[in-house]
């Protein structure tokens, strides 16, 4: 233990606490910090650093190996927490808030451990100068990984506060309690605020992450409804998104986009643009942008540029030829082998389904388009932007401008949603490029058309499958190949004797990337449609058929919960209506959806009712989990019924909301019922993604029930109507 020294040492690595003279409370391991002076920005009081366990560090560590000292393993910090001298509680995390309400749920975890109300905890999120490194906010990892780290830090802080009070008062630790932001000793009626206990000292403790979060039965703040943190700022319009940030002397930027993907700039004449008062044209290689005092002038300048582009020659895949293109470019052409176990099982099955499913590419269309404000101070760069990966964007900026880590700061204000669509820093790099060229801060906001065209898409998919069942309803054979869209959720929750499941990569003509639940929607759509077909083929109720074959109890539980709320058994269905269901699991979440649709003579599909049951372990915040499930279902209805990106010759044909239909209020009203299944005995998993996966197949199966038509492509009802038969 090192105390009261100017340069205390942690393990092998100098842990420079100058100039703040933090007093180290324990000599734990070596610590590797991105910025050793981060403590300076924290001020006084008590600071607890939560060091990542080895496994978590593996998951978290960036591509390079840490430059530790000789011998000791450098350690990564997952989160830290500060209790200021004035008693304010602040937790620091690299996660960001994009509408999933992690700001609220993480504050609940801290509040729980420190026995304070949830609004007593301030969360600092996604500011690379102030928070520990984090890979990003995706993969439903915030609740299972970040919440336990913050809990651990807060629990250590609690323990330290109790120890300080026990020393101060000369009493037993066991007689001390925490309540309402104070440490109390009931026998002597003494009480002292958290901050006052530090007595002007600056204390720092480094603790190990552990795998034993506070058991659910001891939660007090978590496990209950907590409204959105800072909700008032949002209903008053006060919250500043990245696109609302303003800096002194700030100018507005726009970027010249090629007419098609893959086009390169042959030449340009920017003299007309440069002649406009206050306009600067910036060209660096194929990058061309303009900077102007205001946005209309920047737009005018952009239009005034005469640019000559070379577009790639030859036939390019389009929405029409996309799925054949996948098949043609598949990295692994799986041959059909009817002599193997699958072939044999299929030949012995009483019912066989062989079918091809297609899933169109879709856009995230976050309501806040990509936006960034960039400001240079000498060779130091600060960028405000909306992204799910602040440290990833920092790295993009470091690479683009050859800067070191400590020369770039990325600040992510709570962002106008992402859904997996904001992993990259395109707008940040563009704004920084323009700002560097003009030596002034620059704001760049992508237009809706840019967002639809130059962001990335949920991968389209082609799925080929053969499956068989015996006449008693036992699934016997399962051959399932997903081309291009991905392997998420490809594993069936059913017991099947003969299986052959694969994801095969193929060439994508579109830039593609992450999306809420990734390919799990595609794989669930195909799988749950096939299962439905087999159930009908052997004359079994689709619910009974699934129940017979499920080998996942948690899926069975949500299926039963959804079916019960929906009134599946014995449901009387009006003519022209149909009901369908589907279930599945992914990323620790378990989901089942039931849907009723009405299809009129013109093929128009109306969602009459949906019920979705979801279970992801112990529920942290029922209010916001309901919101996530409900929101997933609404978003899922869009991809299920009508969303599809149309493209041709390297151009997006529906690059606006008037051509790309997303769910509107009248498409769903309040017809999205949610049943939460709580499992207080199980650790909490994330809930923002998996609830989306079952609604598309449930709707497809309902359309089949209503019309006898099996639609094997998403969207099921482009432009609101079923495709021509």
């Amino acid at each position: 233990m090192s105390r009261n020294t100017d340069h205390p040492t942690l393990g092998n690595l100098d842990f420079e606490l100058e100039p703040e003279r933090y007093e180290l409370m324990s000599g734990l391991a070596s610590i590797q910090l991105d910025r050793r002076d981060f403590l300076r920005s924290l001020g006084g009081g008590l600071v607890v650093l939560c060091l990542l366990g080895r496994a978590e560090a593996q998951e978290s560590r960036r591509g390079r190996t840490g430059g530790g000292g000789s011998g000791g393993e450098p350690r990564e910090i997952g989160a830290w927490l500060q209790i200021g001298e004035d008693g304010t509680i602040t937790a620091f995390t690299g996660k960001v808030e994009v509408g999933q309400n992690a700001r609220t749920s993480l504050a609940q975890a801290v509040a729980d451990e420190l026995r304070v109300p949830v609004d007593a905890v301030a969360m600092v999120m996604g500011d690379t100068d102030r928070v520990p490194y984090d890979r990003g906010t995706f993969g439903s990892r915030t609740t299972p990984t970040m919440a336990p780290q913050l809990r651990r830090a807060a629990s250590a802080a609690r323990s330290i506060l109790v120890g300080l009070a026990a020393d101060e008062w000369g009493v037993e630790r066991s007689e001390i309690e925490l309540a309402d932001g104070a440490v109390t000793h009931p026998p002597s009626n003494r009480s002292i605020g958290f901050g006052a206990l530090t007595q002007g000292r600056r204390l720092v403790e480094a603790i190990e992450e552990d795998d034993a979060p506070r058991p659910r039965d001891r939660w007090e703040v978590a496990g209950r409804d907590a409204p959105k943190a800072n909700g008032r700022d949002f209903v008053t319009g006060r919250h500043r998104y990245a696109s609302d940030i303003t800096r002194r002397f700030m100018l507005r930027g726009k970027v010249l986009r090629p007419p098609a993907f893959g086009a390169s700039l042959k030449g340009m004449d920017a003299s007309n643009a440069e002649a406009i008062d206050g306009v600067t044209v910036v060209r660096e290689g194929d990058f061309v942008g303009v900077v102007a005092p205001d946005e209309p002038t920047a737009e005018r300048a952009l239009e005034a540029i005469k640019a000559d582009w070379t577009t790639p020659e030859g036939d390019r895949p389009s929405s029409q030829t996309l799925f054949d293109h996948f098949k043609r470019t598949a990295e692994d052409r799986r041959g059909r082998d009817d002599s193997g176990p699958i072939g044999q099982a299929l030949s012995q099955a009483d019912a066989v389904v062989e079918a091809r499913y297609t899933i169109a590419p879709i856009a995230h269309a976050p309501l806040e388009p990509r936006a960034a404000v960039a400001e240079w101070d000498g060779d130091r760069l600060t960028v405000w932007t909306g992204t799910q990966r602040p440290f990833g964007v920092r790295e993009e900026l470091m690479n683009a401008f050859r800067l070191a880590e400590d020369q770039v700061r990325v600040i992510v204000p709570d962002t106008g949603s992402g859904y997996g669509g904001k992993h990259t820093g395109d707008a940040a790099v563009e704004a920084a490029r323009l700002a560097r060229a003009v030596g002034r801060p620059v704001k760049l906001v992508w237009s809706r058309s840019e967002e639809f065209t130059w962001a990335y898409f949920r991968p389209a998919g082609l799925i080929e499958a053969r499956a068989g069942a015996s006449k008693d309803g036992t699934l016997a054979a399962w051959e399932f190949t997903n081309y291009n869209s991905g392997g998420s959720g490809i594993e069936p929750p059913y017991a099947i004797a003969a299986r052959d499941i694969a994801f095969v990569r193929a060439d994508s003509p579109l830039r593609q990337g992450s999306y809420r639940a990734l390919a799990a929607t595609a794989n669930h759509f195909a799988r749950e449609s096939i299962v439905d077909e087999l159930a009908h083929a052997v004359g079994m109720d689709p619910l009974d058929f699934r129940r017979k074959n499920l080998d996942q109890d948690r899926v069975r539980a949500v299926l039963d919960a959804a079916a019960e709320r929906f009134g599946w058994q014995g449901a009387s269905v009006e003519p022209g209506h149909g009901i369908g269901l589907a279930c599945g699991m992914e990323k620790g979440g378990h989901v089942a959806s039931c849907a009723e649709v009405r299809v009129d003579d013109s093929g128009r599909v109306e969602v009459v009712r949906t019920v979705t049951a979801f279970e992801c372990g112990a529920i942290v915040n029922p209010l916001h989990l309901t919101n996530q499930v409900s929101g997933s279902v609404v978003q899922g209805i869009g991809g299920a019924l009508f969303e599809a990106i149309a493209f041709e010759d390297g151009r997006i044909l529906n690059d606006r909301f008037s051509r790309y239909r997303v769910p509107r209020l009248g498409d769903v009203f309040d017809r999205v019922e949610v049943v939460l299944v709580d499992r207080p005995d199980l650790p909490s998993a994330g809930g923002g993604e998996t609830p989306i996966v079952a609604i598309a197949p449930a709707l497809g199966n309902a359309i089949f029930a209503a019309t006898g038509r099996r639609i094997r492509s998403l969207p099921l009802a482009p432009r609101g109507r079923l495709p021509e038969a």
Binding site: T246, P366, L367, G631, V634, R656, V672
Partner: protein, 160 residues
């Protein structure tokens, strides 16, 4: 130099130097610092920019400045009472937690406020019609419907 125009925004006269054909949204955000109204599409389809002009909901991204010179414009910033009391629609959105990322929320609240002025007791169909061009990509619609119903009930004098 662009001409100077006089506007009435949230009950205050405001002078701006801007081209008359410029969309109102950019003027509100960039010239008047009223960033509560959001850009979402620029074609009047998403409603993130909704404001109230002479009692009617309008998409400020497609309204030209010259069209509003002598009109009364209310933005989300003008909805709160001077003492900080939220408008019943704002309060209902907060109470029902009818928001996720919140980017659509100001426009949603403005459109809902205009709707309730027009139709104090809207059916779900009337709500759908009134908010057809207000997109919430987070899909918070069921709670938005609940918030509008709650606001309607409160504004009509009580919780039914």
């Amino acid at each position: 130099m662009p001409p100077t125009l006089e506007l009435r925004v949230n009950g205050q006269p405001r002078r701006v130097a801007a081209e008359p054909d410029r969309p109102l949204l950019g003027v509100l955000r960039d010239e008047l610092g009223l960033t509560g109204s959001k850009y979402g599409c620029g074609e009047g389809q998403c409603g993130a920019c909704s404001v109230i002009i002479d009692g009617m909901a309008a998409r400020s991204c497609v309204v030209r400045l010259r069209a509003v010179a002598d009109r009364e414009i209310t933005t989300i910033e003008g909805l709160e009472a001077d003492d900080g009391t939220l408008h019943p629609v704002q309060q209902a959105f907060l109470d029902c937690d009818a928001l996720q990322c919140g980017y659509c929320t100001p426009g949603m609240i403005m459109a809902a406020t205009a709707l309730l002025q027009d139709d104090p007791d809207p059916t779900p169909e009337a709500i759908a019609k009134g908010l057809d061009r207000n997109l919430c990509r987070c899909g918070t619609y069921p709670k938005i419907v609940a918030a509008i119903r709650q606001a309607a009930d409160r504004m009509n004098g009580g919780d039914r």
